[in-house]
């Protein structure tokens, strides 16, 4: 029997192809479960060998102009794509959960990423001039053969840049970022010898041997202490193969494990909040560093937030300009308004009073508004941050107690106790502002837990932080959830005047075949209408109770 005549062959082939595709698509759509057995991931998988990733040079000027003049990255409003199913960031070579995720002792906070005691005693051998940045310094090898990046404070601003780097280094480490090991030490010019074949690059691109006069010139541009010593910030060279910084948008094309566009990574989006807290205005690719390291028998790329020194109120050479933290370097709309109003379009930074201290610079917390904070240049990851990213970050900021903040500030080694107190006080004020701004901005229900007996407990992060009053009641919707079809079937609804509730018996006993229960939690609070948008929590029945496998705060 002939099914088709010659004229119908093309039609038949098309029907077959379309049928196969449609069948596959239907099943793929329907069969994609919401949760897999290994959810929620605690660590971001890196399955591919990255040993072939090549070094790249992100050009300072080009990167700056791109960020100032173009819109970088994917601009679609979407949930961070590297969060796990419970809306948290898994550990990775980008981020390690520390503060909030677990208790951190004062000793751990003050130690930060340090693994030793700094440069070995004895002569430092200068092996390379500093190739980037305006801070006076050089690259040296200590008596133990360890390589260090040495930086000094600017004259007139002794302790400012080095202390800021130390403190910010501890803060960003505690927050979860990969950080370099920083140490404070003192040095005298006679403690440095120039190594063999060290070359200096001149402004016009020529190179010549590095001389003692060049070293003297570095010390001339550095803050000298009354006893003739120079305070230095020594950053230990990272182990592994440096391959240049990371951009805040897109992915590195030759890193096979880098599959989430950086503007959609939550820990990078969260830098809007962390940056605002610490006034980390110089958030550019040039201050980051990727390093190829061996891990689990293969090469992977580790991403360091390497230079967090332009923080608080100071830059490398002195206090931040007044507008830093409030304006990008170039803002067409602001320029237009100022131009047309003869400059009478005034911004907050033009009127804010500062308690200026030479070791701290311009840093204040009374009029600080994290929503208004801006780094020097627009940064794609920060621009894509949504309310849930801000909330996630704000919880971490709020996890630092006053004592924790004061402990980290102490590592700045300020000789003036007033400077230390000022910085800690401002950080505490800014922390509280961040909490008040971001925690109540969306439904702040966190940490839902369902006991085997059906007792639901959760926390209201805004109420717990003392930045919002408790709502009159919480509404809790109970659903059986079909993981295969992603369909929910309502079981019942309860209310509670506290952050605890009991599941309807039917909810515990009568769930879908694969044993998932969806619990929607919202509340009515007159001042916070966004709290009426429920948080969806998903629990999977286990051998000993219920395990949280999913949490959705925003679509």
């Amino acid at each position: 029997m002939r099914w088709f005549g010659p004229r119908s062959n093309r039609l038949a082939a098309a029907a077959c192809a379309f049928g196969l595709w449609l069948g596959g698509w239907v099943l793929a759509s329907a069969a994609a479960p919401k949760f897999y057995p290994d959810d929620p991931l605690q660590r971001e998988p890196e399955t591919q060998d990255a040993s072939k990733v090549a070094e790249w040079d992100i050009l300072l000027t080009y990167d700056l102009l791109q960020n100032l003049l173009t819109t970088r990255g994917d601009t679609r409003d979407q949930r961070a794509r590297n969060v796990n199913t419970i809306d948290e960031v898994p550990d990775s070579n980008w981020f390690t959960n520390r503060v909030l995720a677990r208790p951190m002792s004062t000793a751990e906070l003050m130690r930060g990423p340090q693994t030793g005691n700094g440069p070995a005693a004895g002569v430092l051998t200068l092996i390379r001039p500093k190739s980037a940045g305006v801070t006076p310094g050089f690259v040296a090898r200590d008596a133990g053969g360890v390589t260090w990046f040495i930086q000094f404070d600017a004259p007139g601003h002794d302790e400012a840049a080095s202390a800021a780097s130390m403190v910010a280094n501890k803060i960003f480490y505690a927050l979860g970022y990969w950080q370099t090991e920083n140490y404070l030490a003192e040095i005298r010019p006679g403690d440095v010898r120039i190594g063999d074949n060290v070359m200096l690059k001149l402004p016009d691109g020529r190179r010549r041997p590095f001389r003692r006069a060049d070293l003297d010139e570095i010390f001339t541009r550095s803050a000298r202490r009354p006893d003739g010593a120079y305070r230095m910030l020594a950053s230990r060279a990272l182990s592994g193969r440096p391959i240049g910084g990371f951009r805040y948008d897109g992915t590195r094309p030759d890193d096979p494990n880098d599959i989430v566009p950086h503007e959609h990574r939550r820990e990078l989006r969260a830098l809007h909040v962390f940056g605002a807290w610490t006034n980390l205005v110089d958030m550019k690719a040039g201050n980051t560093l990727d390093v190829v390291v061996e891990e689990g028998g293969k090469s992977v790329v580790r991403h360091y937030l390497q230079d967090v020194g332009s923080t608080f109120g100071t830059g490398a050479l002195g206090p931040h300009a007044y507008e830093e933290g409030y304006e990008h370097l170039l803002e067409p709309d602001t320029i237009r308004k100022r131009l047309l109003t003869l400059g009478f379009f005034l911004r907050p930074w033009q009127r804010i009073p500062y308690d200026e201290h030479p070791a701290i610079g311009r840093f204040e917390g009374d009029r600080f508004d994290p929503r208004e904070w801006k780094p020097r240049a627009p940064t794609a990851a920060l621009a894509r941050a949504r309310a849930d990213d801000h909330f996630w970050a704000a919880r971490r900021v709020m996890a630092f107690s006053d004592e924790m903040i004061r402990a980290m500030v102490k590592t700045g080694g300020y000789t003036d106790p007033d400077a230390e107190r000022l910085l800690a006080d401002v950080l505490i004020k800014r922390r509280d502002r961040i909490g008040r701004t971001y925690l109540p901005a969306i439904n702040p229900v966190v940490d839902p837990a369902l006991a085997a007996d059906g007792t639901l407990k959760f926390t209201n992060a805004a109420v717990e932080a003392g930045v919002a009053p408790a709502p009159r009641e919480y509404r809790i919707g109970w659903f059986a959830f079909n993981n295969a079809t992603n369909e929910s079937r309502a079981i019942g609804e309860t209310t509670s005047g506290s952050t605890s509730a009991t599941a309807p018996r039917s909810a515990i006993e009568d769930t879908s075949a694969d044993g998932l229960l969806r619990v929607d939690i919202d509340s009515v609070a007159a001042d916070y209408p966004s709290w009426a948008e429920p948080v969806h929590a998903y629990f999977r029945r286990g051998d000993v109770g219920w395990k949280l496998v999913g949490l959705e705060r925003m679509d």
Binding site: A15, G24, T47, V53, E331
Partner: protein, 405 residues
């Protein structure tokens, strides 16, 4: 019948597709880690190192060798610059040979649309003595064929505009010493030969309206041995662009002819102060400048007399509009800063006068102008300044680089 058969084929295929997909999903994505691994595997198959585009490559070259026109060039380079006041922007080329860290020998030639020409070789020693001392030298020739001259004094009518040609051959050397950052002392000596001739262009040539009594030393060629010295105290960021600070500078030049009794001097004093308001949202910039001939006025050729009128003095007046043996200039600017990184705007007023004696200047009418301007700047340099000024002779457009003061 064909339609039915197509439908059957489609249905069977769809079922096969469902079956195959189910098998694939089951085998390849048993968990989240496997799903992510699959994406990473797919990227690994196509991963290639980053390839910078043409623009980025150009920026790489700039970062390696410096910004064109802002960083010192190496080898052959396109040159831009001033040839002689009022001659417009000169274009040309040059060759620069670096000496030491920041010294150079530079030879360049410039030509402007007004047919002004300059050929010059300069030597700049590297800084020495702890970057406090530097020697410079230059030798060159220029031809300015249509320099304006209106007569002496503040009341010289604009309708008397004439033009003269000036050719200058010069060689000089100087030493600059900065014992401390704020203080700059300089001294130099040289040889300057001037050849003044009939002017070209639309204005009548100078000799058709003026004589040596109204244009001192008209038509004379003159060769001078020159001595100069200056002292400056600067508390601003950069003379080329500042929003705070100021300077005081005094310069003395001595022009010695072969006959000592034909010599003269020029003294110039200037004070500038920038007063920032509301954290440099506004800046009030003030300047006073006095210039005068020392010795016998009659020995100074008219083209070396102090003058007012240009993009940096009386901005509504043409270059060299007012000349005499003394000049006094005041300028004030109210600047506002739309972009601290790149853009300033300014409302300005200039007032100046020239005369034979200081009493004449103080007791006669000052020429004034007002205007508005925009400046595109870097942290320590003004790349472009465009200004419109209005005085009692009408509007004048200024299009130049460098700070007004």
């Amino acid at each position: 019948m064909t339609g039915l058969r197509v439908l059957v084929f489609f249905t069977v295929s769809a079922l096969l597709g469902v079956s195959a997909s189910a098998q694939t999903a089951e085998e390849n994505a048993p968990n989240r880690t496997a799903l992510i691994a699959r994406e990473q595997e797919a990227k690994a198959r196509t991963a290639t190192p980053y390839q910078p585009g043409r623009v980025e490559q150009y920026f790489a070259r700039i970062e390696e060798r410096g910004l064109p026109f802002l960083s010192p060039p190496r080898g052959l380079y396109p040159a831009l610059g001033s040839i002689y006041s009022g001659g417009g922007l000169g274009w040309g080329g040059g060759y620069r040979y670096a000496i030491g860290d920041d010294g150079a020998i530079d030879a360049h030639a410039l030509f402007s649309l007004a047919t002004y020409k300059r050929i010059e070789t300069t030597f700049q020693s590297p800084h020495f003595s702890g970057k406090r001392l530097r020697a410079t030298a230059r030798a060159g020739w220029l031809d300015a064929p249509r320099v304006g001259y209106y007569g002496l004094g503040a009341e010289a009518p604009s309708t008397d505009r004439t033009a003269f040609r000036l050719r200058e051959t010069y060689a000089d050397a100087a030493l600059t010493w900065r014992p401390v950052k704020a203080l700059e002392l300089a001294g130099g000596a040289g040889r300057d030969a001037f050849d003044q001739r009939a002017g070209t262009g639309r204005s009548p040539s100078i000799e058709t309206k003026f004589s040596s009594s109204t244009a001192p030393r008209l038509g004379e060629a003159a060769t001078f041995t020159t001595l100069s010295g200056s002292a400056g105290l600067m508390w601003l960021e950069s003379p080329a662009y500042s929003r705070h600070g100021g300077l005081v500078r005094w310069t003395l030049e001595r022009y010695i002819r072969d006959r000592v009794d034909a010599s003269f001097g020029v003294s110039r004093a200037e004070i500038v102060q920038h007063v920032p308001l509301v954290r440099e949202n506004w800046v009030i910039s003030l300047r006073a400048r006095a210039e005068g001939i020392l010795g016998d006025d009659a020995n100074a050729p008219f083209y070396l007399l102090p003058s007012l009128g240009s993009g940096s003095t009386l901005r509504a007046y043409r270059t060299g509009r007012f000349r005499d043996t003394k000049s006094l200039l005041f300028s004030g600017e109210w600047r506002w800063i739309p972009s601290p990184l790149a853009i300033d705007l300014a409302l300005f007023v200039d007032a100046g006068n020239v005369g034979r004696h200081w009493d004449d200047i103080l007791n006669s009418r000052f020429r004034k102008d007002v205007g508005i301007g925009v400046r595109f700047h870097a942290p320590a340099a003004t790349a472009l300044r465009v200004e419109v000024a209005r005085g009692d002779e009408g509007f004048h457009l200024v299009f130049t680089s460098g700070a007004a003061f």
